[in-house]
Structures are given as C-alpha cells and as structure tokens.
C-alpha cells in the first residue's frame, strides 16, 4: 500500500483553552462522550452519510483548503472526516487525547462549514454536518478553542456575543440616533414599537465597535419610510456562535430570545443586517433545533430587503458608484439562502461596473473566516491565510479585470477577506452593501 503523504503542517500557535481542555481528558470520558453523542444525537442522518460515502474524493477540489495546500489530501473534506469522525466511529470512541486535540483543530479551523463540498458530492452528503458532529463532541469534552468559547460564554450570559450589558445597548442606539439627527433632523431609531412592520436585528459587534452600521441602516430605513423597530431588551442580537461550537442548547436559547422579541413586538417580519452565519442560525439550524421547520416569523437578510427597497423605488440612487466593484457571495446567504441573483440586482443598481469573480454565485470560494474559524482567534490566523491562497488568486484575477472595491455582504467574510487582501497584498477596498447605499441614495432633506 502506498504510504500516506505527510501533511504540510503550518506553524500552530498555542491555544490555551484547547490545551487545558485536552489535559483534563481521560480515556473513559472520551469514549463515553463519543458513544453518547453518536448513539443519542445522530441517528439515521449520520449512518446514511457514513454508509453512502464511497470515498470517491470528488469533494476534494471543492475545498479551498485543499486547493490552497497544493492538493494535500489531508485537507480534502473526505480527508478531514477520515481524520476525525470516521476514526471515532471505527474505534468506537476509543481515541486518545492527542487525537481529540487534532480533531478539534481540524473541525474548528480547517473547515468553514461553507458546504461547497456538499454541492460536488454525487450523493449530496453534507460534510459540514459531519464536522458539526465532531464539534459537538469536542464541546462536550470541553476542548473548544478558547476565543470562540469565550464568545459562546458571552451568548449564554448576555444573549449577545460581545458581552454587551443591558443598558449599553439602548444607550448606543440613542447615541447613534442623536448623531444621525445632525444629518436627518427627524430620524428615529424606534425602540419597542409594538406592531411595527419590521424588527431590525444585528450582530453585537455593531453596537460594540461598528455603530456606524446601525447609523447607516437607520438612515436607509428613514429615507425609505420603513415602519421599523428594534427591541430594547434581549433578542436584539441575531448572531449565534454557539451554533458553531456545538453548544446546541445555548444556540436554541439565543434563537428563541430573538424570535420571542419579534413576537412580543408583534412585527410582521424580521430584517437582519449583513451577516451570514446569523442568517444560517435563524433560517436553517437554530429554528430547526427548536422544532420550527421554517422560522415562526418571516425573516429576511439585508440583501433581500435592499433588493426590495431598490426594486420598488423606495430608495433612489442619485448617481451610480463609478468605481468597478466585485462581489463576494457569502456561503450562508447564497448556498444557504439563494440570494445570489438578488445580490447582483442590488450590485448592478448601485454600481456602474460589476466585475464577476470566477467561480461565482453558489460556486464561489469561501472567505475562510466563516463557520466560526475567525472566531477561534489569533492562534489560527495563519491557518485561515495559508488555507485560502486560492481566494487571493481569485481576487487578484478580478482585480486584473478592473475591480477596485470588493463587496462582502457578511461580517465574517468582511473580516476574513480583509486578512486575505492584506496578507497577499491584493489591494482592494472592502465594503458592505449598506455602505454604498448610504453613500449613493437620495437623502431626505
């Protein structure tokens, strides 16, 4: 038998949370935890996937880590399953603490759960689900990487991901309302308005550090005459890193708080900001964990809402953006939500020139930040960068064809692409759709 090729190991910085967790493991704990998760939580879905996979390897070339590591099979989706879940199943849970440590790193930082591979699998096996099962086991073993665990802790204590305390949230909104009133005298950020058409929800980094995004959204809703509100208490943060740490119980609580806020306010639907993973958590994973096949209240991503506002002429563009842009398709709203054509409608309405990346739409390459990878923090930054050379090449190609600005309608994509652009010296400005709409729209006097 041919010898397995050695893996090209990137230099791995120490993750203290993971190291402490692994040091506490015992063989008994590992075995019983794996067996319990496999027996009581996976069921037919996992056995079907395991029994169906014929190890054909067609998933390999779908993965940006595989392509960026010169086709190293360790980075093929099937290779990642082989190094984690299959071995756990085969050994009936009798794996070592070192194995668990490696499995945690693979499942958390060498896979973004972007599901590009699932599209290329002839049987449609959802490999992201398999990686989530690994993360569930890692979570139950207390070996989740430190930074993302901190975020999950924040979710469980505060129901938001940035440790924002009760009064800091409405205080931030009122502050942004005040700042915005210098530009639009009668602008409001309406809190707790029962019966408003929409509830607008965001992710906690917006109030924490990027309050200008709330300002911009308020300005856009104001210009469009939208009847909207935000909850002043729990449920305003639609993000959910617990979904990515396999802490399903906390994930469910966060989603319930979010939907409960909308139900309490009796709104017709929820509009969410430009975040991808949050969309996945409210539209696919979290709602289903709670037993709602579809969300209990209609929920639309910002791309969808901007599409509506522009199509119906509620927002008018005074002058198109003259600089050529290229558009990044975030996995969760495109592969997961089918918003690629609407995103293009928005892009073409706003901009004179849209340079398509190749591949694009549901075939687009991932940002390598998603799936909680960037949330695992600094120890894994190089993993994301070396694992996404292919994205840098794709961006360079778009730049060569004239693009100067990169639109990324997702927070994680935004930050991840910023790292890629900076490291590889691509030289593209990165913006949200909201940035452009605010800049280009006809503003009320």
């Amino acid at each position: 038998m041919a010898k397995a090729p050695a893996k090209t190991e990137p230099s791995q910085a120490l993750d203290q949370g993971l190291a402490v967790g692994v040091a506490r493991l015992t063989p008994e704990k590992i075995e019983s935890t794996i067996r319990t998760v496999l027996k009581s939580e996976t069921g037919a879905r996992l056995s079907t996937y395991v029994e169906t996979c014929i190890h054909c390897g067609l998933c390999a070339e779908a993965c940006h880590y595989y392509l960026s590591h010169d086709n190293d099979p360790h980075y093929a989706p099937v290779g990642k399953v082989k190094q984690t879940l299959w071995e756990m199943i085969k050994q009936k849970g009798r794996v070592t603490p070192e194995f668990i440590e490696k499995a945690a790193i693979i499942a958390h930082t060498e896979c973004n759960l972007c599901k590009r591979c699932a599209q290329y699998c002839p049987f449609g096996i959802d490999i992201a689900y398999l990686m989530l099962v690994v993360r569930r086991i890692i979570h139950k073993l207390g070996c989740t990487p430190l930074y993302i665990q901190d975020t999950a802790h924040s979710h469980s204590v505060t129901m938001n991901q940035m440790w924002v305390k009760g009064d800091e949230w409405p205080d931030t909104l009122q502050w942004q309302e005040e700042e915005a009133q210098a530009e639009f005298e009668d602008l409001r950020i309406p809190l707790d308005v029962e019966g408003a058409e929409i509830m607008y929800s965001v992710i906690a980094p917006e109030p924490k550090f990027q309050a200008q995004l709330i300002y911009q959204a308020a300005a856009i809703f104001h210009a469009a005459g939208v009847s909207w509100t935000m909850p002043s208490e729990l449920g305003w943060d639609n993000s959910d890193m617990a979904m990515f740490t396999g802490d399903n119980e906390i994930m469910g609580r966060i989603k319930r708080a979010h939907y409960d806020a909308a139900i309490r306010l009796k709104v017709k639907r929820i509009v969410m900001g430009e975040c991808g993973h949050a969309f996945r958590s409210v539209y696919d994973v979290g709602n289903r964990w709670l037993g709602w096949e579809m969300p209990p209240i209609p929920i639309v991503h910002a791309i969808d809402f901007y599409y509506e506002l522009l199509k119906e002429g509620r927002i008018k563009i005074t002058k198109k953006y003259p600089t050529p842009i290229t558009l990044h398709d975030p996995c969760n709203v495109v592969r997961g939500g089918g918003l690629h054509e609407k995103a293009r409608y928005v892009a073409h309405t706003l901009c004179e020139s849209v340079v398509e990346m190749t591949p694009n739409r549901e075939h687009n390459y991932c940002c390598a930040a998603g799936g909680g990878a960037i949330n695992c923090g600094p120890p894994y930054k190089q993993t994301r960068i070396s694992g996404n050379r292919i994205k840098a090449e794709q961006l360079f190609a778009a730049k060569t064809r004239g693009a100067q600005v990169l639109i990324a309608p997702c927070h994680n994509c935004h930050s991840g692409l910023h790292d890629i652009v900076h490291h590889y010296g691509v030289g593209l400005d990165i913006k949200f759709f909201g940035d452009l709409i605010y800049e280009l729209m006809e503003k009320p006097a």
Binding site: T172, W175, Q210
Partner: protein
C-alpha cells in the same frame, strides 16, 4: 508566539499582532503600532483614546463599547474612526495594549 523588535525593545505578539500581555505595553509599542496601522501622526487625541481604553480595561477586563469611548473622550464616532482607521476594536485596542476582542471582529 512571534516577537517584534521596535525602538530597541522586544515584544511578544499574537498572530493578529496584538501584544501578549497588557502589562508589557510601553511608549515604544505605541510607536510600533502607529507604523503598523499606517497612522501618520500621533496627537493628544490618540493619546486620550489610549488612556481611556487602558483605564477601562484595567477596571473591567474588557474593551469598552465604542459608545463609552465616545462619551468619555467627547469624540464623535466618525472622529474615532478618523483617528484609528481600522476601528476601535482593532487599531485602537491594539495600540492600547489590549488583547484582540473576541467575537465576529
């Protein structure tokens, strides 16, 4: 963790370029981050932001909301971003010697 040399001093940093420990912060670190962040000139306003961040972190063990930063310094949000183009969570926290904030940042 990598180390960087600047102004005759040596600093240990994480992969995102944040200092390993808040107590290892010094004036040379500020100058190093100024260069890294491409900030042309440091003025009293940068200094004020740094002081507020460090004092808040010392008391609370976390970076403040940008709202708090604005309230205490008296700077509008836009102005904070003019001082630190990569934002309060990245550039300003880095320069003040705080750890990289957790979350989607």
């Amino acid at each position: 963790m990598p180390t960087v040399e600047f102004g005759g001093k040596s600093f240990t940093v994480d992969e995102d370029g944040f200092i390993d420990d808040y107590t290892n912060w010094s004036e040379e670190w500020v100058q190093y981050v100024k260069k890294e962040e491409g900030i042309e000139e440091l003025n009293d306003e940068h200094q004020k932001v740094i002081t507020v961040l460090r004092e808040y972190y010392e008391k609370n063990g976390i970076a403040p909301m940008v709202r708090v930063l604005s309230k205490v310094t008296g700077f509008k949000l836009k102005h904070i971003y003019e001082l630190f183009p990569s934002g309060p969570g990245k550039g300003a926290c880095k320069m003040a010697g705080l750890p990289k904030p957790t979350g989607c940042v």
